[in-house]
Structures are given as C-alpha cells and as structure tokens.
C-alpha cells in the first residue's frame, strides 16, 4: 500500500487519477481503517488529505457554512455557532460512534463511504447541503443527495475528491432535526434514520425537506413526505400523513440490523418525532 500526503486538492486529484488498483482518500479513517483491519478493502493507494490547507476549518460562506473535509464530529459539536443554526446536522454527526470516533470521523468520510445508513447524510440532504469536488478536469459542485449511488458507491469519478461541504444560510423561521433508531443507546449503525428541515410562515410549514436513511440502497429525499406537511400546522393529521408517506417511501431489506416491517414502521415513527423537533426549533411552538 502506498501512502501519500498531498498538499493541495489538485495534487490529491492528480495522484488519484494516476493511481492503479484500489484508491481511497483518508480523512478521519474511521471507515477506511475498519475495512483495512477486517480485510474487506486493502487499498493499493491511500491519499491522506489532512495535510491540505484549510481542511480543518469551519468558515462562514454566503450566510451559510463551509466545512473542511478533515473537520471532525467533535470539532463540529464544539463550534460555538454551527449547532445554533443547523442543530440537526450537528446532532446527526455527533450520533456517529463513540467519543473516540468523534475525535476522527468527518462529514465527508461519512458521505463518501456510501453507506445508506450514514447518519450525517439524511441530515445534510434535509438541510440542502452540497459538496465541492476537485477532479483532473477541474471543479464542480454537487448536491449531497446526488453523491451516493448505491451501497458503497458514489457518483464521484476516478480522480475526483471532495474538497468541502457547504451548508446553506439558515435564514429565519427555520429548524432541522435528525433522529435515528438503534437497538442500544450508542455505538450502533442506524437501523432507520430521518432528517427533517422545515421553514415556517407563521405557524404553518412553508418549506420542508424530509430525508430517510437505511431504508433503501441510498439515502432518500422523500418529496411526498415534505408535501404531507407543507401548508399545515403539523397537526395530528399532518403527522399521520407524514408518517404514512415516509413509510411508503421505504424500500428496505431484511438484515442483521432490522426487518423490512420494522424499518418501514419505524421510519414513519421517526419522521413524526423529528418533524415535531424541527417544528419547535423553527419557532412553531411559540
């Protein structure tokens, strides 16, 4: 295995473009090293992107935030402002693994690992986040929901590397939340995850994004679930419609973490619970 520590994203992209065999980028390493130790994936080329300037910064950008690819969950949680604007995204990241994992894990790593159960991804999708990508042919920006294409797969081309995450401006009367179901209180992979982001007009929901994790080959953005609450005050009927729409969107599998029936049912339960939190955060409770 070759180990590289490029000083720029262009260099990283160049190394990756030329690499032969299995290539992995190393940010927090909490998936890459597990796969290495478990003999699941032994990269031929490993590109550590933590030596690139600015990768550990959380910075203001167009009223929103630019989050570096090496920013850890712990750094996001400790940031004085981020969780006031995007508590759902910060909580989703914070739910991943232990305190120790939080010291290393990153948003981009969680995204690019391509797991449908990645906790931060539904939260980012609900938030309307995007990522910048540097490749051999230049840069582009893509929506987070367009990155995963299947379990362990992404839409990134050979030689492309994510260089930053962008969270949009929070704006007024908005709130987000993320909930997941796990059998224990910590340390498990999500059996179901749900991110909800709402903007209110008075006490009515004006805009909504609802995203579900671990219920399909990729994280889902569920338009029907959003429509179920837009224009409502999130009353009981709206919550039931939301729950039904969320469950209806599920295309899960039976596996060691849960059954089809369980995931489908709990997706509806979490959608309701997360929506209520997001609604309160958007000021709907006042």
């Amino acid at each position: 295995m070759q180990y590289h520590t490029p000083g720029s994203f262009d260099d990283a992209a160049t190394i990756a473009a030329k690499a032969e065999g299995v290539t992995r980028f190393l940010a927090g390493g909490t998936d890459v090293l597990v796969q290495l130790r478990a003999d699941m994936v032994t990269p031929d080329v490993l590109i550590d992107i933590k030596h690139i300037d600015g990768v550990s910064d959380i910075a203001r950008e167009d009223g929103g935030w630019r989050i570096g690819v090496a920013v850890t969950g712990a750094e996001m949680t400790e940031h004085p402002e981020l969780d006031k604007e995007w508590p759902g995204v910060v909580e989703a990241m914070d739910l991943i693994g232990s305190t120790q994992i939080q010291g290393r894990a990153t948003l981009v790593g969680n995204l690019c690992n391509g797991s449908p159960a990645a906790d931060s991804v539904p939260a980012m999708i609900a938030a309307g986040a995007s990522v910048s990508v540097v490749g051999p042919d230049g840069s582009r920006t893509i929506k987070v929901e367009d990155v995963p294409t299947g379990p362990g797969r992404t839409s990134l081309e050979k030689g492309e590397v994510v260089s930053a995450v962008h969270l949009p401006a929070r704006g007024d009367n908005g709130g987000d939340a993320y909930l997941r179901f796990i059998p224990r209180t910590e340390m498990d992979i999500a059996v179901v995850g749900c991110g909800v982001n709402l903007r209110l007009d008075g006490d009515r929901v004006a805009e909504a994004r609802v995203s579900l994790g671990a219920v399909a080959p990729t994280v889902l953005l569920v338009e029907e679930a959003a429509q179920a609450v837009i224009g409502t005050t999130l009353d009981a009927a709206a919550l039931e419609a939301l729950s039904a729409a969320a469950s209806a969107a599920c295309k899960p599998i039976n596996d060691k973490r849960g059954t089809i029936e369980f995931r489908t049912h709990v997706a509806g339960v979490l959608a309701k619970r997360a929506a209520k939190i997001a609604y309160d955060r958007a000021g709907g409770a006042k």
């Binding site: 130790r37 478990a38 003999d39 179901f181 059998p183 224990r184 209180t185 910590e186 340390m187 498990d188 992979i189 059996v191 596996d255 060691k256 973490r257 849960g258 059954t259 029936e261 369980f262 049912h265 709990v266 339960v269």
Partner: protein, 749 residues
C-alpha cells in the same frame, strides 16, 4: 466439613475491602495480558479459516505462502498428533479440521512469519479447495428429519433409538407423577421458548506465545482460565510429555467460561516446533466470534400446573440445546437447574444435546442455567398474572429449603433461597411505584457451584512475609480474597502476603477457574495450607520452649502456650519464628492438596424495571436489584462486582446479543459493532444485596458467587418487558424488531 474456627462474626480480615494486589499494574498499563508478551526471535502467526458452514476439504496448497519472504512455517492437521481418541480427538478436530470444515471459522491451516502483517498476507495465499456440503444451524431443524448429518457415530448410548444422528446425548430426570400433579392444578400453562446463542464477549481476544523445541521441551504463555488444562491438552495434541511443557498464565482479560477451552496454543506450538522459533498467535475479534465458544442456542417447552392459592402441583420441561459441531451442549445442567428453586412433588425434565454447523459451544457463566430460568420463570410469571398472585409470595410458597428433594435428585443441604426472596421482598425496589410504560419482573436463579482438584502452597520469608501460590487464574479478584483468608488464619496483615498464580511447574494439578470454584476451593486450600503452616510454626515454638506441640496455640499471629499448665513464655510472633527458621529446622512451607466436594449451591433473586417504547420496540432497563446468597463474602466489593457483572451480561443476552447466521450458514455479526453487548449508557446503576447463609462445606461458609448472578436476568427482564409491553415475549433476544412483531401479532389477534 462445617464452618469452623469462626462464626460469621469475629473475622478480622475476611469481610473487609482491601485493595487488589494487581491494582496498580492494571491502572498503569503494566499488567501483562496474553498479547503483551514478546520473546527474542519471535514469529507471528495467522490461522486460515473455513468461510463455509460445512465443506469437505479437498486440497490445501501452501506453496505460494511458503514462497513468500518472511514465512517460516505452515501447519495443517498433518502436523498434530495422530491416533487421539475421545475428548482429545474432539479438541484437536476443533483446533484444526481434518477432512471436513464443520462451521464458518473452523481452522484449516496456519502460518508463521516474521511480522504480523506478513503472517496475515501469507494466510491469504494459502489456497484451500472445498466441496460444499449441506448445512444446518438451527436446533429444531438440526434434529428434524432430513437435516444434514454433522458426523455419524457421534451419539452416545443415552440417545433413544430413532432419533436423528445429530442428537448426540439425552438426559431425563425427575420424580413423582406429573400427570397426577397436573390433574390437581387449577391452572396448567404450557408454552415454548427459544434463545439464541450468545458469546462470553471478553474484551481480550485469545492470545499466546509458545515455544517448542526438537527436544520436546516447551513453554507456553497464554490467557486462560486453566493453565494446567492447557498443559494437558497441548501435550496430547502436539505429542509431547505434559511435564516437558511449562504453561504460565498471563493476566486474563475476561473469560466467563470462554477461556476454559484450548484453541490456539497447540497451533502456536506446532508452528514453533516446525520453525524452531517462538511463535505468537493472537486472534482477531472476528475470529473470536466465529471460532470460539458461544453458548448453546435453545428450544424449550415448559408445562406447569398451579392451584388457585399458588401451589405448584407439577412441572415438566423439554430442553433442546444446539452446541455446535461437537457433543457437549450442557443440556443436563439446563434440565437440572430449571426447577431447582421449587420444592416439587412431581417434576420431570428431558434434555437433548444437538449438533449443528456452528462453533463448538463453550461454558458461559452457569452454562445452561440462564436459559432454563428464562423459560420456567416466564411461565411462573404468567401463572402469577393469570391467578392474580404476588410473584415473590408464590416463589416463597414453593421455595426449596434445607431438606427439600431437589428437582435434580439429591436433598438440599443448608441453602439461602428463602433468605434471598425475603430480602428482595424487603427491598424498597419491590414496592417502588412504576411509571407509565414500565413493567417489573422478578426471577429466581440457581447454580450448583463446583469444587475440583486444587493445590496451594504457602511459603514464609525470613522477614515474616508470606508468598502464597495458587493454581487458579485470577478471574475476579481472587488474589485479594486468597490473601485475606491467609491473613485471617496467620493473624498477620493482608499487606504482608503476596498471592501469585503459579505456573504448571510450581504446583500440583489445579482444575480450571470455573464452576465458581476459586474462592471456595482455592480458598479452602489456602485456609488449610495456612493451618498447615501454623502447625509448623507452633512446632518450632514448642521446640524452642521445650514443651509439647499440643501445648502451643496460635493467636493473633503469635505462638502462645495453650494455658498456665504449658508454661510461662513470651508469645512468639510469626516474624520471629521465620527469622530463625533456617537454624530451627529449615524453610517453613505449608501446603494443601485435595478435591473438595462441599461447594454449596447458590440461589439469587433479581428485580428489574423495564420501560418499553411501543412505537419502536426499544427497551430501557431503568432499575435493577440483585439479591444473592454468597455464603460468606470474603471481599464484599468483589462479590458485588460479580453480581453486577452477571446482571449486565444477562441484560445483554436478554435484549440485544445474538449470533446471526445467514442462509449460507455464515456468521453475519462477527464484530462488536453488530454483536451488541451493553455499553455504559445502556445500563442503570445495579443495586446489590449480599445474603450470607453459610455453606457447611467451607470453613468460613463461602459459596461461589460468579455464576448464579447470570441465571435470573433473562427471565427477570423478559417478565419486566412482557409486563410493560402487555405481550409475552418468548424468544431471546427481545430485540426491538421482535418486540414490535409481538405487539403487531397481538393487535392482529
């Protein structure tokens, strides 16, 4: 033997809570566990394991691996002893497959190389050609008609004719007439239960460092619950003399029964012999789950009859245990423990030991008993609910006592079940109000406890301090409790004694640290070795004073004349006698060797409150109380630790831990990520009550405490969850999908 010398009072050291002698080493990272040893010239080994549940091994080609730089030896079954029979053959077959891989993870070859990475890379280059065979992993399917046969001729004579060849042992016991008993009942309930296999889940993977020379002399360093057993088994499997093999136990990072078994030491020895270099072999976590001892999985049918006022008139149970690809599932313990808490006129129990394509089951803390308690105590709880009776009163009404003919045959000696039930009843937890969504569960549990071969030696130093050598690896703080018992007898401070777990060259044979036997048996041997020492000390004083040995007594750490008639002499402290021992007859060493058979049985009663989220099926254990009879608690803090640890493991077993096999017979969850043991945030504080009803078979009344603590939790939690959810849970673990499915099934009528 009756409790002697001391009552339950009058102890000076026993019952206090001194610091453990291994404490500083363990908090500074200095303590040496299995994987922490190194030797000059050491090689590292890796094992090649079958990815198939059941497959004929057609060919093993190690040419590519052997050609790799740094590779020094490859071994297969051909490198082990031939002609073994009985249990040694079974162990070898599990250590290294011969012609058939019997489960996912079964070892088929091993390699030693210069670095751990080189060994792992080389293992991947060893090519094994398999022919897949049909497999079975479920207990009911494995004994059903048409199930693939794991091995013909494995059954012993106990098995009735006409059973599937995978049923390899059969047990039947009981007394009275259950049909007559059921006819006398006002309510008879009958139900079936299943439990999945769980793993002991020790945090330290198996590890060893081994050296075997061409002269047949060898050394093994390993983490084990029984190094004398490692010596015996390894010698047989690699074909050398037991005495030529010295085995030194490392600190052990948890065992709970799982480290009573030999897995990797013979492999490291065989590689070492071939390479003529020391070989270190450390399992990965995945190997631990795939190839070392889970518990048996079970399928059980229980039928109990009760009168309206709570008297049990008859009880019957059928217990089918799947124990992996070898005989040995502890179904007779399951059967014998099932109804032990109850004084029954009519009781009948049947057990089946069933083989399947899974790793060989290993002991796990009271092997077989927790599952039985789950099934039986669930039915008792149902009976209490339906007849509107208090669960503690019903258990008190039917409780086994001294003189009761046990469900498994003999009459109970002095036991403490009633005392644990009374203490539970008096505990504030029993009457505390429950919040919305919560349920309370109560269960009793029983374990036999064990004695076993034991040897202890106690040597005095000239400065009056003491070296105590025991042969039972310290798995729960026993070096402290042994030191306390020796200090008690010798009348010297605890700090003046250093307790060591001695290697196989130092002491006579000691059985494994299992069966909750250490504080009982090594404790008894320590007391006797100390008394032997005292006798020798008194003899030296008698000689000095010129009086009869009988005229000297030992009090408060000094030899004293037994009375005015013996003469007037200043008391002689131990240190004074020790200082001159070289001139008064030589070194003073006390010892004791025996197979004590008076291990007192132990009972416990647990109370647990659980809260169930009916929308997600998630359970939270909100309050837990353990009440258990310890006979006499030598070190109460460590006794509490055993109670709490057993309860926590039981909570994991009840709620989330399970072996999950795919259709292909491969284990799906071989990491701690998906084998979900309780984490700190899952658990409440665990309250403990130590009941002390002395065991007549130990000088201080000690009963083993390590195992009984895991017997009641499965049932207590199942009762709490069932009462909270409003539906009876009959299958473990009660994972959220299972709870939701049970609720849905109930809603569907």
């Amino acid at each position: 033997m009756a409790p002697d010398g001391h009552g339950t009072n009058g102890f000076k050291v026993v019952g206090t809570r001194p610091n453990r002698p291994d404490g500083v080493d363990k908090v500074t990272g200095r303590a040496k566990f299995g994987a922490d040893a190194a030797a000059p010239g050491m090689l590292h080994a890796a094992i090649v394991r079958s990815p198939h549940a059941h497959a004929k091994i057609l060919k093993i080609d190690s040419a590519k691996a052997e050609a790799m730089k740094g590779v020094k030896a490859v071994v297969t079954r051909a490198d082990f002893a031939e002609g073994l029979t009985g249990e040694n053959w079974n162990i070898l077959e599990n250590v290294m497959a011969s012609d058939t891989a019997l489960y996912d993870g079964h070892a088929v070859a091993a390699v030693a190389a210069s670095t751990p990475l080189a060994a792992r890379d080389a293992a991947k280059l060893i090519e094994v050609e398999y022919e897949l065979l049909p497999h079975v992993t479920d207990v009911d399917k494995a004994m059903g008609s048409g199930a693939p046969v794991i091995r013909t001729g494995a059954a012993d004579k106990s098995v009735p004719e006409g059973m599937h060849p995978n049923v390899v042992r059969y047990h039947e016991s009981g007394h009275g007439d259950v049909e007559k008993g059921f006819a006398e009942a006002d309510l008879v309930l009958e139900d079936s239960f299943k439990t999945e296999a769980t793993h002991q889940g020790y945090i330290e993977p198996h590890a060893c460092l081994a050296q075997l020379g061409p002269d047949g002399k060898g050394e093994v360093w390993c983490c084990t619950q029984g190094h004398f057993n490692v010596q015996k088994v390894c010698a047989a499997l690699v074909g050398t003399d037991a005495s030529q093999l010295r085995v030194t136990p490392s600190e052990i990072g948890g065992g709970f029964g799982g480290k009573t078994v030999v897995f990797i030491e013979p492999v490291a020895l065989a590689l070492s012999r071939k390479a003529n270099r020391p070989v270190k072999l450390v399992m990965s976590r995945s190997e631990v789950f795939r190839a070392t001892g889970p518990t048996a999985s079970t399928s059980m049918d229980i039928k109990i009859g009760m009168t309206r006022d709570g008297k049990i008139t008859a009880a019957q149970g059928v217990f089918r245990l799947q124990g992996g690809a070898f005989p040995g599932a502890p179904m007779e313990f399951t059967a014998m423990c099932a109804f032990a808490p109850y004084a029954l006129e009519n009781v009948h129990q049947v057990g089946y030991d069933v083989m399947s394509n899974r790793p060989k089951q290993a002991a796990y803390r009271a092997p077989g008993s927790p599952m039985a308690a789950f099934a039986v105590e669930s039915v008792v709880d149902q009976l209490c609910n339906e007849l509107d009776l208090d669960p503690i009163e019903v258990r008190l009404k039917n409780a086994s006592k001294e003189g009761t003919k046990a469900s498994f045959g003999p009459k109970f000696d002095r036991i403490g079940l009633v005392e644990t039930l009374e203490a539970a009843k008096a505990h504030p937890h029993h009457k505390a109000p429950l919040a919305e969504g919560q349920g309370r569960g109560i269960s009793c549990g029983f374990w036999f406890n064990h004695g076993g071969e034991t040897a202890v030696s106690l040597a005095l130093s000239e400065d009056g301090t003491v070296s105590l050598s025991v042969g039972t690896p310290d798995i729960g703080g026993s070096r402290a409790s042994m030191g306390q018992m020796a200090a008690e007898e010798l009348g010297i401070p605890y700090e003046k004694i250093r307790t060591t777990v001695a290697d196989t060259a130092t002491l006579g044979y000691n059985e494994i640290s299992h069966g909750s036997r250490v504080t009982y048996a090594s404790g008894l041997a320590t007391i006797q070795a100390a008394r032997d020492t005292v006798q020798k000390l008194c003899a030296r004083a008698a000689a000095k004073w010129g009086i009869d040995e009988d005229a000297v007594v030992w009090e408060d750490g000094c030899a004293k004349p037994s009375g005015p008639n013996a003469g007037e002499f200043e008391p002689l402290p131990l240190a004074r006698i020790a200082r001159s021992m070289g001139r008064t007859g030589g070194p003073i060493v006390g010892h004791f060797e025996a197979t004590p058979e008076g291990a007192g049985v132990s009972f416990a009663t647990h109370i647990v409150d659980a809260e169930v989220d009916k929308e997600t099926g998630q359970t939270k254990v909100v309050r837990y109380t353990v009440v258990q009879d310890a006979g006499k608690a030598i070190h109460p803090t460590y006794v509490e630790g055993q109670f709490q640890g057993g309860a926590a493991q039981g909570i994991g077993w009840a709620l989330n831990e399970e072996y999950i096999y795919g259709e292909d017979g491969r284990l799906q969850n071989s990491l701690f990520l998906d084998y979900r043991i309780p984490v700190a945030s899952d658990l409440p504080m665990i309250d403990t009550v130590i009941v002390e009803v002395p065991n007549p078979g130990h000088p201080y009344g000690v009963r083993g405490v390590g195992e009984t603590s895991i017997c009641p939790p499965l049932a207590a939690i199942a009762n709490a969850v069932s009462n909270a959810a409003g539906v009876r849970l009959k299958e473990l673990p009660m994972s959220p999908p299972r709870i939701l499915a049970a609720l849905a099934a109930q809603a569907d009528g």
